[in-house]
């Protein structure tokens, strides 16, 4: 060491270097979980201005997009590159992923799905819109239902995803299952949706499931999604039971007959669970109102309920509004 070198400075240098090395590793370790990194980030040298640069890039992209009359095959590639670079700068730019994917999705669906896949690789970015958009593009532009189902399943797992995402997923699964010729599987999808995610064990007889079904039945008018699900359940059940009853008459094989009988019973059990405490038409399996003598959906005669035994008025509450008789 040079005699002119101050010892105190060297000692201080060693101490601070050790301290800073320790702290650097500690902070880097903590930042691993708390901070944003794109999975395919190109490690741009942005000197800490990448977020601001992403905003500038966004404004420039809006201007560029505005200058294009149409998105063609040629400029779709240009736009895809720009959206890719923009999301390298800010991997959490959800709007850029969504708008970009929809922008180029028509001309270059694979590039738009690559952009959305990149978004899904960012662990901190939890938006149902991104996998939903991917599922939508996979179905409508690529006509790839199984790929769309994968995306929609990701979207449906997000806590803030709206009900129509679940319904979209069921419709996609229905399209896939329709090839298997198993309507009970499709029915189960709607039952699961209606019961709010209760599994098939619940349908097999868990006591809580019936309550869930009954409570939804009461809110059916308020929740169009649940109402839609009930319509599907009734329609599918009605079709399955009618078809199986018809097949039972012609079927000679005892095993096949047993299978048909079991399936009818299974569907009836599902209906009992879903419509627990509700009166349903025995032909179309849809609920009917107090006092109805015929089903308003198919004209079938139904067992009336909620009628005052004294004056035959429809009881609307705990007591008859005409004679004050206590309702049963």
């Amino acid at each position: 060491m040079n005699s002119k070198t101050p010892t105190s400075a060297v000692v201080f240098l060693v101490i601070t270097l050790l301290a800073s090395a320790h702290l650097a590793n500690r902070v880097a370790e903590l930042r691993k979980d708390q901070t944003v990194r794109a999975p395919q980030s190109r490690g741009l040298l942005s000197a800490g201005f990448s977020k601001f640069r992403s905003q500038i890039a966004w404004m420039r992209l809006i201007q560029l997009r505005g200058s294009m009359a149409n998105v063609t095959k040629e400029n779709a590639a240009l736009l895809a590159g720009k959206y890719d670079r923009l999301t390298d700068l800010d991997p959490m730019f959800a709007t850029a992923y969504e708008e970009g994917a929809l922008d180029i999705g028509w001309q270059d669906p694979e590039a738009s799905l690559r952009l959305l896949d990149k978004a899904q690789g960012v662990s901190q970015l939890r938006s149902w819109r991104i996998p939903f958009t991917a599922g939508f593009i996979a179905k409508t532009r690529l006509n790839n239902a199984s790929r769309a189902v994968q995306y929609m399943e990701m979207a449906s797992k997000q806590p803030d995803c709206p009900q129509y995402v679940h319904r979209f997923l069921i419709n996609l699964k229905t399209a896939l299952l329709s090839k298997e010729q198993d309507p009970v599987k499709i029915l189960n999808l709607w039952v699961d949706y209606y019961l709010g995610g209760v599994g098939r064990a619940g349908v097999a007889g868990a006591p809580g499931m019936g309550r869930a079904g009954a409570s939804f039945a009461g809110q059916a008018g308020e929740d169009s999604g649940k109402k839609l699900a009930l319509n599907h359940i009734s329609r599918l059940s009605s079709n399955i039971i009618a078809q199986d009853q018809k097949n039972l008459l012609t079927e000679r094989d005892s095993d096949a007959k047993k299978r048909l009988q079991d399936r009818i019973e299974e569907v009836q059990k599902i209906l009992k669970q879903v419509y627990a405490g509700t009166h349903i038409c025995q032909r179309c399996y849809r609920p009917y109102n107090a006092g109805d003598e015929f089903c308003v959906h198919d004209g079938n005669r139904v067992e009336p309920y909620g009628i005052c035994p004294k004056d035959k008025a429809v009881v609307r509450g705990a007591y008859c509004h005409k004679c004050g008789t206590k309702a049963n």
């Binding site: 002119k4 070198t5 101050p6 400075a9 650097a24 880097a28 903590l30 977020k51 601001f52």
Partner: protein, 246 residues
């Protein structure tokens, strides 16, 4: 200690006399507030842009203020003020420390003024206090203290222009040392540990996207910047000690 504080105070008051500083602060606040008009240009993202612009401009002002130290030391050397000072019973290390503390104090004052101004503008635009901006500013303050120490180190053995260019270059390159850490190799890890990691106190991307970053990580990153500033000042002391001032 008194000598250090005297140099610190003189450095601070001398730079504070410059009117361009006030113009710079006012211009930054006006620029941030003007983002309010960018509704159409950003397709409705002007709130996000305002936050990001505020953070970016706070960095720019902090950086410019920190770079003053390189000019100040170079001027002292050019005008031979250093000779006069060092002819008194004052160590070279004390002189550098005084300069560093003077500019670090100026950086602190500037950043406090700007942070308060930007916070108020963000509140005016968004209708809520963005308290996470304080966390961001704290971490950024640490980074700027590190830049000041870096400026002192380069100014201790280089002329003003190379010192400014190198300080800015190291600040930019210091944001890329993350790749060394992520490489997972032993040499990479060693380099990451000894090189200045300006990405460690940089949370603009996280706060700009509304991610919750704990105070613990902010405090640790500020401690890192202070410790690394100590490394740079020690090096500055060694280089300046060996420098021929005649």
């Amino acid at each position: 200690m008194n000598d250090i504080m005297t140099i610190c105070k003189n450095t601070y008051t001398r730079v504070l006399r410059s009117r361009s500083l006030y113009v710079l602060l006012a211009a930054v606040l006006i620029l941030v507030a003007a983002v309010h008009l960018y509704t159409d240009l950003t397709a409705g993202r002007q709130k996000e842009l305002m936050y990001d612009a505020g953070a970016a401009l706070l960095t720019v002002v902090g950086l410019f203020t920190a770079l003053v130290v390189t000019f100040d030391i170079a001027r002292d050397l050019r005008e031979r003020v250093v000779m006069t000072l060092l002819s008194k019973p004052l160590g070279r290390g004390h002189y550098l420390l005084g300069k560093f503390l003077g500019i670090a104090w100026l950086v602190t004052v500037n950043m406090v003024i700007l942070t308060a101004g930007i916070l108020w503008i963000l509140h005016w635009e968004q209708g809520a206090w963005r308290m996470d901006f304080i966390k961001l500013a704290c971490a950024m303050w640490g980074a700027m203290i590190m830049v000041t120490a870096l400026g002192v180190m380069f100014a201790s053995f280089l002329g003003e222009l190379p010192a400014v260019v190198l300080t800015a270059a190291v600040f930019a390159a210091g944001h890329a040392t993350e790749s060394l850490y992520r490489a997972g190799t032993l040499p990479g890890h060693f380099l990451f540990s000894v090189l200045p990691g300006f990405w460690l106190p940089d949370f603009k991307l996280e706060f700009g996207n509304g991610l919750p970053i704990s105070w613990a990580i902010i405090i640790l990153s500020v401690l890192y910047t202070l410790a690394y500033s100590g490394v740079l000042l020690s090096l500055a002391g060694i280089f300046f000690h060996k420098r021929d001032l005649a």
